[in-house]
């Protein structure tokens, strides 16, 4: 099942199971198709592209759904 990450009390949790996923930025460990709630825009975003850059950097493109 695709992840759906939401910030709750300062922690990022997967709304599918309530588990705390990680601390830090909410798109860091997501894959294509996963979703997160953007607390700045208030929108639910879905990951569309992940593009590797350099040694282990990456560019993540997501669009509101």
């Amino acid at each position: 099942m695709a992840k759906h990450i939401k910030k709750v009390n300062g922690k990022f949790v997967d709304v599918n199971n309530g588990n705390t996923v990680f601390h830090g930025h909410c798109t860091k460990d997501l894959d294509i198709g996963d979703m997160y709630d953007d607390d700045e825009s208030g929108k639910t975003m879905q990951i569309k592209e992940i593009i590797p850059i350099g040694t282990s950097g990456k560019l993540v493109r997501s669009v509101s759904v």
């Binding site: 830090g24 930025h25 593009i51 850059i53 282990s56 990456k58 993540v60």
Partner: protein, 160 residues
């Protein structure tokens, strides 16, 4: 879909590297609906800090729009509030080049070129906290035009 091109130049015993990103997102195949948002998150390599040097950001005016605005925002993925933002009316493009807004006919934040440069120069990111580019289509038409996100940044190895 996007057509990315990347280049990495490693120098100084791999303690610093210069990276460039060229992402052109074709709105014909990846449209942005009226009221929708596109986020582009840039993460540096593990064990490095990224420091943005320059950027070229372009969004065409949504074809067929009759009201509203669209905007580009440069921010951190970890905090609310943008570092700098350009907003154009429905009939105009948005263009950011190097370190400031060239075309944003509704509003530029900060308003002065020097303040925009200062806000842009403060941006750092790493492998966990991104530098985020946000495009928001607040017009009444679907954005079917190109969005271009080009940037050059330096990665510095932590502790070097």
């Amino acid at each position: 879909m996007g057509r990315p091109e990347f280049e990495t130049i490693v120098a100084s015993a791999a303690r610093e590297s210069l990276n460039s990103v060229d992402l052109s997102v074709d709105g014909a195949t990846t449209p942005i609906a009226a009221g929708a948002t596109e986020n582009i998150d840039l993460f540096s390599s593990s064990g490095t800090i990224g420091h943005i040097q320059s950027a070229y950001l372009n969004a065409l005016a949504p074809i067929g729009a009759t009201t509203g605005t669209h905007l580009l925002n440069i921010t951190s993925g970890s905090q609310r509030g943008g570092f700098t933002q350009g907003t154009s009316n429905f009939g105009s493009d948005i263009l950011f080049n190097q370190k400031s807004w060239i075309l944003a006919d509704n509003a530029k934040l900060p308003s002065s070129d020097s303040a925009q440069v200062a806000a842009f120069n403060d941006n750092v990111f790493d492998s966990a906290i991104s530098l985020r580019f946000v495009y928001t289509n607040n017009t009444d038409a679907v954005q079917t035009g190109f969005r271009i996100y080009r940037m050059t940044y330096v990665e510095k190895v932590i502790g070097s």
